[in-house]
C-alpha cells in the first residue's frame, strides 16, 4: 500500500470530515487523518483551518505522527501565530524527552517556526539542548542558534548563545564542531563586523583536527570557514595547506573545490622560491582535471572556477589542454565553458592541436557553439602570433563553406586580426568582399564596413561598396550607421576627389534625417572637423590605432582576487562579486587575497590592510569585441578616471580634439558651412551653453570620455536638517528635547538640545532606541556629565552605529527613542533623513553601474519630481556629493543634463539614480532604481531636502 491513496480524496466537505477524523479516539484513524492533511498541504490546498485539531494530535508517542504534526506546524505557524503558542508546551516537554531523537526533533522544529512569540519560549530548552549529553541533540541545537539569530539577533546575543556556540567548536564530536562552525559562519556572514569567528591558531588547529573526522558536508563547512582566515606568516600558511591538501582526494567534488579555495588563497602567502610552493602547484592540477568527470552541473561549476584559476595561476593547468576538448555529448553550457578555457590555455606549444579541434567544432550543427568556435579561432590568432597565419587560412576555409553564420562570425574576427597585425593579411580582403551581400547581422556588417573604410585605398571600388550600404541607411542599426559614417569619412580623407558627393550625402543623412543623438553628434563633429581643418581631420580620423591586446576578456585583477576567495560559490559561477547580486548584505566586505610574505618578488596583491588598496596597474586591456572599432577618435576605451579632478586630457590626441572643437565653435556658429541652421538646431543650447564652463562644450559622445565627478568643487558637508522639537516639555515632565541628525566624517551623529524647563535638577540621563529599519543604535552612552539645572540647556552629540537590531518601521526612517533621567522614562519618535545613512564609499564603478542598472527590473523604478530648484546640474551634483550621492557620469542630450548617480546605504543597499536637469527649467526629475524599492521614497525626500537647502 502506498501513500498515494491520501491524495485521492477530493470530496466536498473534506475539511469537515478531516476535522472529525482528527478528533477520533482511534490512534490509527488519527494518523491516517494527519497524513491526509499533509497530502492536501503538499498539493497546495489550504488546510490551515485544521490548525487546532492537528496541534491536538501533537502529544503522541508515535514518532511518525509527531513528525507529521511538526511538519504541519512549520508550514502554518506563521499564518496562525496566536494558535502556534498552543504548541509551545509540547515542544518544551519534548525537549526533555528521554529519546534524543525526539529532543532533537523538537529543538529543530521550534527553530523553524518563525513566530516571534514562540522564540522566547525556545530559549530555555535550547540552552539545555546545547549542553545535551547526546551529540545528535547538540549538533541540532547548534544549527538552531543560527535559526534563532535569523529571527531575533538581539535575543541570541542577550542570552549568551553565541558564546555557547563558540564553545562547541571545542566539542569532542566532529559533527557538532562542523555544525557549530556552519552556524557561526552563517551568523557572521550577516554581521560582518561582529568578529564572531575570531579565528586564531588554536581554533584553526581544532578545525583542522575535526576536518579529518567529520562528514563530507562538515568538511565543506570547515574548509569554507578556514578560507576566511588570514595566516600570520608563510610558515603558518604552509602548515595549513599541508593539512588541507589530503582533501583534494575526496570523492565529493564540493569538498575538492572548497579545498582548492583554501589552497589558492593561502598560496598567495608562500614565497615562490619555496619548494613547497612548486609541489602545491603540481598537486592542484589532477583534482581539477578529475572534476571534469563529475556530473554536468558540477562540471559547469568547476569549469567556471577553472576559468578564474587559469587567469590567476596559468601555470597550474598549462599542460592539460586535452581534457578541455569538447565531447560530443557534453551539454551546451559545458561546451561553451570548455571553449573559453581552451583559448586561455592556448600557447605556441599546443596551438596546432587546438586549431584542429576548433575547426572540427566549426562544422557542428549547434549554431551558438559554432559561432563561439569561429570566434575562438580569431582569438587564438590574436593570442598566439605564430599561429595567426594558420588561423587566417582556417577562417578563409570556413568562409568558403558559405554557411551564413559562419561567414559572418569569421568576418567579425578577421577585423580584429587586421587590427592586431596591420599590413599583413590584407590580401584576403578580396575574398571578404565577395561575401558582402550575405551579411545580414549588424555586427558582421559593421565589421565589413570598418574593413572597407580602413583599407579604402586598397579597394578599388570602395566607394561603390560603401554607397551600396548607404541606400538603406535608415534601416540599419546604429552600430552599422556609425561605422558607415566613419568609414565614408575615412574614404573621403583618403580619396577626396571622387567621394565628395558621398561624404556630403552621409553627413546630411546622419545630421538631418536621423533622430539618433549619437549619430547626429558624430556627424556634426566630422562635418565641423572637415570644414575647419582637413589636415587636423586627417590626423584625428586616420590616427594610428592602439593595438588590441592579447586577452580580450580578462577579469579585472581586484575582482579576480575577490572571486578567487569565493571559489565554489555562486559568485564564482557568475563571475560577479557577491555584492552585485546579494541584496542588503550588511557592510559588504570585499574579500581579498592575503599578501605574500617572505619573498621580495613583486606581489600580485600589494596590501591587505588599507581599505583603499591600490591594485597593481591594470593591464591596458582594450576589449576588441562589442565595441565600435575605429571609433571616432579611437579613444572611447580610455578607462574612466575614478575620482578626483577630471584629467582634462589623458592623451595629447584627446586634447587636440578638444581644442579643435573649441576653436571651430565660433566659426561654426557663424554658419559658413551651409548646414548652419540645422546645426543651430542640433546645437540648440541657448547662449548660456557657450558661456558655460568648457566641461560640456559639445553635447553627447565626448562628454562621456571624461569623468565628470570631479568637475565638482570641494565637497561640502552633508546636509543636516534644522533641529525640531522631539519631546515637548509638556510630555517630558519638564524635559524638552529638540534635535536633528548629521553625518560627519562617516559617523552619524544625533544632535540634541536638552532643556530643563522643570523646577528641579535633572541627572542620570540615558538613552535607548527601539529596533528600527536600519539598525541604528547609540554607539556609546549619552554624555550628559553635569546635572541639568532648571532653565539650563545643554547640547549633546550622540554618535550612532548601524549594527543594532533591525526591524522594519513605518515610515521606514522612523526612530523610536526612550530617554531616561532621574525623573522618569520618556518615549518619543523622530524621523531621520535617510541621507544620514549614505556611506562615503557609495561611488559605484561605472561598469558595475551600467550592469546593475540593467539588472534591476523596471518594476523597481520610481520617478519623482523636484519643483522650484534653481541649480545648474553641476551645482546640484556638488551639493549631492556633499551628502554622499555620487555622480558617476553625465550626459547632455538636447540641452538636458542627465546625471547618473549612485548611493549606498549603511546596510549595503545600493540605490541608482538618474537626475534630469533642463537648463532654465526649475523642475528636476529623479529616477530611482533599487533592488529594495521601499527605500526609494525616503531617498527621494533626501534628494529634495539636499537640493533645496
Amino acid at each position: 500500500m502506498t501513500d498515494s491513496k491520501y491524495f485521492t480524496t477530493t470530496k466536498k466537505g473534506e475539511i469537515f470530515e478531516l476535522k472529525a477524523e482528527l478528533n477520533s479516539d482511534k490512534k490509527e484513524k488519527k494518523k491516517e487523518a494527519v497524513k491526509k492533511v499533509i497530502a492536501s498541504m503538499t498539493v497546495g490546498k489550504d488546510v490551515s483551518a485544521l490548525f487546532p485539531d492537528v496541534v491536538n494530535c501533537m502529544q503522541t508517542d508515535n514518532l511518525e505522527l509527531k513528525k507529521l504534526v511538526y511538519l504541519y506546524l512549520m508550514n502554518y505557524a506563521k499564518s496562525q501565530p496566536d494558535m502556534a503558542i498552543m504548541a509551545v508546551n509540547t515542544f518544551v516537554k519534548d525537549c526533555e524527552d528521554p529519546n534524543p531523537l525526539i529532543r532533537a526533533l523538537a529543538v529543530r522544529t521550534m527553530g523553524c517556526i518563525r513566530v516571534d512569540k514562540i522564540t522566547e519560549y525556545l530559549c530555555e530548552p535550547l540552552r539545555k539542548c546545547l549542553k545535551d549529553e547526546d551529540p545528535y541533540v547538540r549538533k541540532t541545537a547548534a544549527v538552531c542558534v543560527a535559526k534563532l539569530h535569523d529571527i531575533n539577533a538581539q535575543l541570541v546575543e542577550d542570552q549568551g548563545f553565541l558564546d555557547t556556540l563558540k564553545d562547541l567548536i571545542s566539542d569532542s564530536n566532529p559533527m557538532v564542531v562542523a555544525n557549530a562552525v556552519a552556524a557561526l559562519s552563517e551568523i557572521a556572514e550577516s554581521h560582518p563586523n561582529s568578529n564572531l569567528l575570531d579565528l586564531n591558531p588554536q581554533t584553526i588547529n581544532k578545525l583542522l583536527t575535526a576536518l579529518n573526522e567529520c562528514t563530507e558536508w562538515g568538511q565543506i563547512f570547515i574548509l569554507d570557514c578556514l578560507a576566511n582566515y588570514t595566516p600570520r606568516d608563510d610558515r603558518e600558511s604552509q602548515s595549513i595547506c599541508e593539512r588541507v591538501t589530503p582533501r583534494l582526494s575526496h570523492a565529493n567534488s564540493a569538498v575538492v573545490l572548497s579545498a582548492v579555495k583554501v589552497l589558492m588563497k593561502f598560496m598567495e602567502m608562500l614565497p615562490k622560491d619555496l619548494d613547497y610552493y612548486g609541489t602545491l602547484l603540481k598537486k592542484l592540477a589532477p583534482p581539477l582535471v578529475t572534476l571534469l568527470s563529475a556530473e554536468p552541473e558540477l562540471q559547469y561549476v568547476a569549469l567556471r572556477n577553472i576559468n578564474l584559476i587559469v587567469q590567476r595561476r596559468p601555470e597550474i593547468l598549462k599542460h592539460e589542454m586535452k581534457v578541455f576538448f569538447v565531447k560530443y555529448n557534453d551539454p551546451i553550457y559545458v561546451k561553451l565553458e570548455k571553449l573559453d578555457i581552451m583559448i586561455r590555455l592556448a600557447s605556441q606549444a599546443n596551438i596546432a592541436q587546438v586549431l584542429a579541434e576548433l575547426k572540427e567544432y566549426a562544422t557542428e550543427v549547434d549554431v551558438d557553439f559554432v559561432r563561439k568556435a569561429v570566434r575562438a579561432i580569431g582569438r587564438c590568432a590574436i593570442k598566439v602570433e605564430q599561429s595567426a597565419e594558420r588561423c587566417v587560412s582556417t577562417l578563409l576555409d570556413l568562409i568558403q563553406t558559405k554557411v551564413n553564420y559562419v561567414v559572418q562570425e569569421a568576418i567579425v574576427v578577421i577585423k580584429d586580426i587586421f587590427r592586431k597585425y596591420p599590413n599583413k593579411y590584407e590580401s584576403v580582403i578580396a575574398t571578404l568582399c565577395e561575401n558582402l551581400d550575405s551579411l545580414d547581422e549588424p555586427e558582421a556588417r559593421a565589421a565589413m564596413i570598418w574593413i572597407v573604410g580602413e583599407y579604402a585605398e586598397r579597394i578599388d571600388n570602395a566607394d561603390e561598396l560603401l554607397e551600396s550600404f548607404l541606400e538603406g541607411f535608415h534601416d540599419e542599426s546604429t552600430q552599422v550607421q556609425l561605422q558607415l559614417l566613419t568609414a565614408i569619412v575615412k574614404l573621403f580623407l583618403k580619396k577626396p576627389t571622387e567621394t565628395q558627393e558621398l561624404v556630403q550625402q552621409v553627413l546630411s543623412l546622419a545630421t538631418q534625417d536621423s533622430d539618433n543623438p549619437d549619430l547626429r553628434d558624430r556627424g556634426y563633429i566630422y562635418w565641423r572637423l572637415l570644414s575647419t581643418d582637413p589636415v587636423a581631420a586627417k590626423e584625428v580620423v586616420l590616427a594610428e590605432k592602439p593595438l588590441i591586446s592579447e586577452e580580450t576578456d580578462l577579469i579585472e585583477p581586484t575582482l579576480l582576487e575577490e572571486l578567487i576567495c569565493h571559489i565554489g560559490t555562486l559568485a564564482s559561477v557568475y563571475h560577479k562579486p557577491p555584492s552585485a547580486f546579494v541584496e542588503g548584505s550588511r557592510g559588504v566586505q570585499h574579500k581579498r587575497l592575503p599578501g605574500s610574505a617572505g619573498s621580495g618578488e613583486s606581489v600580485e596583491s600589494p596590501d591587505t590592510g588599507s581599505a583603499a588598496g591600490v591594485p597593481d596597474a591594470p593591464p591596458a586591456v582594450i576589449p576588441s569585441q562589442g565595441d565600435l572599432l575605429g571609433d571616432l577618435l579611437n579613444l572611447d576605451l580610455t578607462p574612466p578616471a575614478t575620482s578626483g579632478p577630471p584629467p582634462p586630457a589623458t592623451s595629447g590626441l584627446q586634447l587636440g580634439a578638444m581644442d579643435l572643437l573649441g576653436g571651430g565653435l565660433d566659426s561654426l556658429l557663424g554658419g559658413d558651412l551651409g548646414g548652419g541652421s540645422a546645426m543651430g538646431a542640433g546645437f540648440g543650447a541657448p547662449p548660456a551653453a557657450t558661456a558655460a564652463p568648457f566641461s560640456a562644450p559639445v553635447s553627447g559622445g565626448l562628454d562621456d570620455l571624461f569623468d565628470l565627478g570631479g568637475g565638482v568643487g570641494m565637497p561640502m558637508g552633508a546636509y543636516s536638517p534644522p533641529k525640531t522639537v522631539w519631546l515637548p516639555a509638556m510630555k517630558g515632565k519638564g524635559l524638552e528635547i529638540s534635535g536633528t541628525f548629521a553625518r560627519r566624517g562617516g559617523v552619524i551623529q544625533m544632535e540634541m538640545t536638552l532643556t530643563n524647563k522643570a523646577m528641579s535638577v535633572m541627572t542620570d540621563f540615558a538613552i535607548q532606541f527601539n529596533r528600527n529599519s536600519f539598525g541604528l543604535a547609540p554607539a556609546g552612552p549619552l554624555q550628559v556629565l553635569t546635572p541639568l539645572s532648571p532653565n539650563q540647556s545643554i547640547e549633546v552629540s550622540l554618535p550612532l552605529s548601524t549594527v543594532g537590531p533591525v526591524m522594519k518601521m513605518d515610515p521606514l526612517n522612523n526612530l523610536q527613542v526612550a530617554v531616561k533621567n532621574n525623573i522618569d522614562v520618556f518615549y518619543f519618535s523622530c524621523q531621520y533623513p535617510i541621507s544620514m545613512l549614505f556611506v562615503e564609499d557609495g561611488k559605484m564603478e561605472r561598469q558595475v553601474f551600467l550592469a546593475t542598472w540593467k539588472d534591476i527590473p523596471n518594476d523597481n523604478e520610481a520617478q519623482f519630481q523636484i519643483k522650484d530648484c534653481h541649480l545648474s546640474s553641476d551645482a546640484a551634483s556638488s551639493k549631492l556629493q556633499g551628502s554622499n550621492i555620487f555622480t558617476i557620469a553625465k550626459r547632455t542630450v538636447d540641452g538636458q543634463d542627465m546625471l547618473y548617480q549612485s548611493v549606498k546605504l549603511s546596510n549595503g543597499i545600493w540605490v541608482l539614480a538618474e537626475l534630469r536637469v533642463q537648463t532654465g527649467n526649475p523642475i528636476f526629475t529623479v529616477c530611482l532604481k533599487c533592488r529594495a524599492p521601499e527605500v526609494s521614497q525616503c531617498v527621494f525626500q533626501s534628494y529634495e531636502a539636499v537640493l533645496k537647502n
Binding site: 502506498t2 501513500d3 498515494s4 497524513k35 499533509i38 503538499t42 508517542d61 514518532l63 511518525e64 513528525k67 507529521l68 512549520m74 529519546n99 531523537l101 523553524c112 545528535y136 544549527v143 543560527a146 535559526k147 559533527m175 557538532v176 552556524a183 552563517e186 579529518n212 573526522e213 567529520c214 562528514t215 563530507e216 558536508w217 565543506i220 593539512r243 582533501r247 582526494s249 575526496h250 570523492a251 565529493n252 567534488s253 564540493a254 573545490l257 572548497s258 582535471v289 578529475t290 568527470s293 554536468p296 552541473e297 558540477l298 561549476v301 560530443y328 551539454p331 551546451i332 553550457y333 557542428e364 550543427v365 549547434d366 560559490t569 555562486l570 559568485a571 564564482s572 547580486f581 548584505s585
Partner: protein
C-alpha cells in the same frame, strides 16, 4: 550558505513536494522556474544556474523530475549540486526508482528524509544505509523504543554501525576499468583515458580495519621496493571512509569499510591506450535514395581474452527507412527512436575481425534541417583483465575478535565508449 529551500517538480514545473529550510526566499518564487527554464532553452543559453530578481535557482534533472534549490545568498554552488545528487542517491536507495510516482507514493518518508538530510540549509546525515536504521518506510510498525538515533550518525565513523554479524566473513573486490578512446576520421587517436574504480562488497562482522595494497608506483618508490609492473595513478578519489591524511603521508589505503556495496576509490590514468576494438567504417549517402553502411570491427586485444556483450552503435540519418542488414556474426537492429543501428556480438575473441553491412532507403524529399554527426560508439566488457595492469597486491583485514576473512578479487575492463568519428562521403 547553501539552499534556502528544496523543491521537487514534475516535468511541467508543478511542485510535487518541497521543503522550506530558511524562510528567506518566498516559496512562490518557484513559479518562475519553469518559464525561466523555457526561456533559457529557447535562447540556447541553458544553464544549471538561473536567476530571477535576487532569487537564484540551482537545478538538476533526474528521470521525469526537476530537483531545484533556491537561494538569495552567495551560496556554495558546488555543495548544492553535490547535495541534490545525494538526494537522488538516497531516494533511489529508498524507493528503487526516483520518479514522479515514487515521490507521491512515499511522501511521508520523503518529508522525513528531507527533514533529516538538511537543516537550515546545511546538509546533515546523507548516508542512506545509516538513515535506513532510523527512518523506515514502515513507520507504523516501529515501537517507540526502537527509534533511537544510531550513534553512528554523529560518530567519526558515520558510515558503519556497530554490531554487524556475518557467519562467513568475506569481502569482494571488483577492479573495473573503463576506457575512453576518441578516434578521428583519419584513424588517429585524439584522446584516450582510463577511469578505474575499485568497488567493494563487504560482508564482514564487527568494526574491521582494512588495508588495501595496490601496485602503486608512488608507493613503491616511497618504500624503495620495486617488484614487477607498477601503475601511475594520475588522480585518486576516495570514499569518505578512507583516511586521506594517511594516504597523503605514506600512500597507505586504510579504512573501516561501509557494510555492503560501496565504491572505495576511483582513479584516472593518463597512459596512451589504443582502442581495444578497432572500428573502420564506410558510409555512403546517396541523397534522395539510400545510405549504405559498412562497418568492420577488429579485436585488438590478446587472443586468450574474450570481449563480452559487444555493442557497436552506428548513427543513421533520422529520415532513413526500410533497413536491411547483413552480418558476419551477431545481429544488427535498427533503433529508430535513437537513429541508430545497434550491432551486438555476444562474444568477441581477441584478434578476430567481423563485418556488418546495412542498407537504408532515404526519402526523395530531403530533410533540410542540419543534423549532428554523432560518432560511432562501441561498448564491451572484457573480464579478468585491466588495461592499466593495476593489481590488488593484498587486502589485510583485522578485527578485534580475530576472525579469518577472505578477500576475493575480480578484474573487468569496460568500454566507457570507444568512439570513432567518421566521414560521410556524400555522393
Amino acid at each position: 550558505m547553501s539552499a534556502s529551500a528544496i523543491f521537487v517538480l514534475d516535468l511541467k514545473g508543478k511542485v510535487l513536494i518541497c521543503r522550506n529550510y530558511k524562510g528567506d526566499v518566498d516559496m512562490a518564487e518557484i513559479d518562475h522556474f519553469m518559464p525561466l527554464l523555457m526561456q533559457h532553452e529557447e535562447e540556447g543559453l541553458l544553464s544549471p544556474v538561473m536567476s530571477h530578481g535576487n532569487v537564484h535557482f540551482m537545478w538538476i534533472k533526474h528521470s521525469n523530475l526537476y530537483l531545484v534549490a533556491t537561494t538569495n545568498k552567495n551560496s556554495n554552488a558546488s555543495l548544492v549540486y553535490s547535495f541534490l545528487y545525494k538526494i537522488v542517491e538516497v531516494f533511489t536507495e529508498y524507493f528503487k526508482e526516483l520518479e514522479e510516482e515514487s515521490i507521491q507514493d512515499n511522501f511521508v518518508v520523503v518529508y522525513e528524509l528531507l527533514d533529516e538530510l538538511m537543516d537550515f540549509g546545511f546538509p546533515q546525515t546523507t548516508e542512506s544505509k545509516i538513515l535506513q536504521e532510523y527512518i523506515t518506510q514502515e513507520g507504523a510498525k516501529l515501537e517507540v523504543a526502537k527509534t533511537k538515533v544510531p550513534t553512528t550518525v554523529t560518530n567519526a565513523v558515520s558510515w558503519r554501525s556497530e554490531g554487524i554479524k556475518y557467519k562467513k566473513n568475506e569481502v569482494f573486490i571488483d577492479v573495473i576499468e573503463s576506457i575512453n578512446v576518441l578516434v578521428n576520421a583519419n584513424g588517429s587517436v585524439m584522446s584516450s583515458d582510463i577511469v578505474g574504480s575499485i568497488k567493494l562488497k563487504t560482508m564482514l562482522s564487527g568494526m574491521p580495519e582494512l588495508r588495501l595494497g595496490l601496485n602503486d608506483r608512488v608507493l613503491f618508490a616511497l618504500t624503495g621496493r620495486d617488484k614487477g609492473k607498477t601503475v601511475v595513478m594520475e588522480d585518486v578519489k576516495f570514499h569518505q571512509c578512507v583516511r586521506l591524511s594517511r594516504f597523503e603521508s605514506d600512500r597507505t589505503i586504510s579504512f573501516i569499510p561501509p557494510d555492503g556495496e560501496s565504491e572505495l576509490m576511483s582513479y584516472r590514468i593518463n597512459t596512451h591506450v589504443k582502442p581495444l576494438i578497432w572500428i573502420e567504417s564506410v558510409i555512403e549517402k546517396f541523397s534522395h535514395s539510400r545510405v549504405e553502411i559498412m562497418v568492420k570491427a577488429k579485436g585488438q586485444f590478446k587472443k586468450q581474452s574474450v570481449a563480452n556483450n559487444v555493442e557497436v552503435r552506428v548513427p543513421v540519418p533520422s529520415d532513413a527507412d526500410s533497413p536491411k542488414f547483413k552480418t558476419s556474426t551477431g545481429n544488427a537492429k535498427y533503433v529508430p527512436e535513437k537513429n541508430l543501428v545497434v550491432w551486438t556480438i555476444k562474444s568477441f575473441p581477441g584478434g578476430k575481425e567481423f563485418l556488418m553491412r546495412a542498407h537504408f532507403g532515404l526519402p526523395s524529399v530531403e530533410n533540410d534541417e542540419a543534423e549532428g554527426k554523432p560518432p560511432i560508439t562501441v561498448k564491451f566488457e572484457i573480464p579478468y583483465f585491466t588495461v592499466s595492469g593495476i593489481q590488488v597486491r593484498y587486502m589485510k583485514i583485522i578485527e578485534k575478535s580475530g576472525y579469518q576473512a577472505l578477500p576475493w578479487v575480480r578484474y573487468i575492463t569496460q568500454s566507457g565508449g570507444t568512439v570513432a568519428t567518421f566521414l560521410i562521403s556524400a555522393l
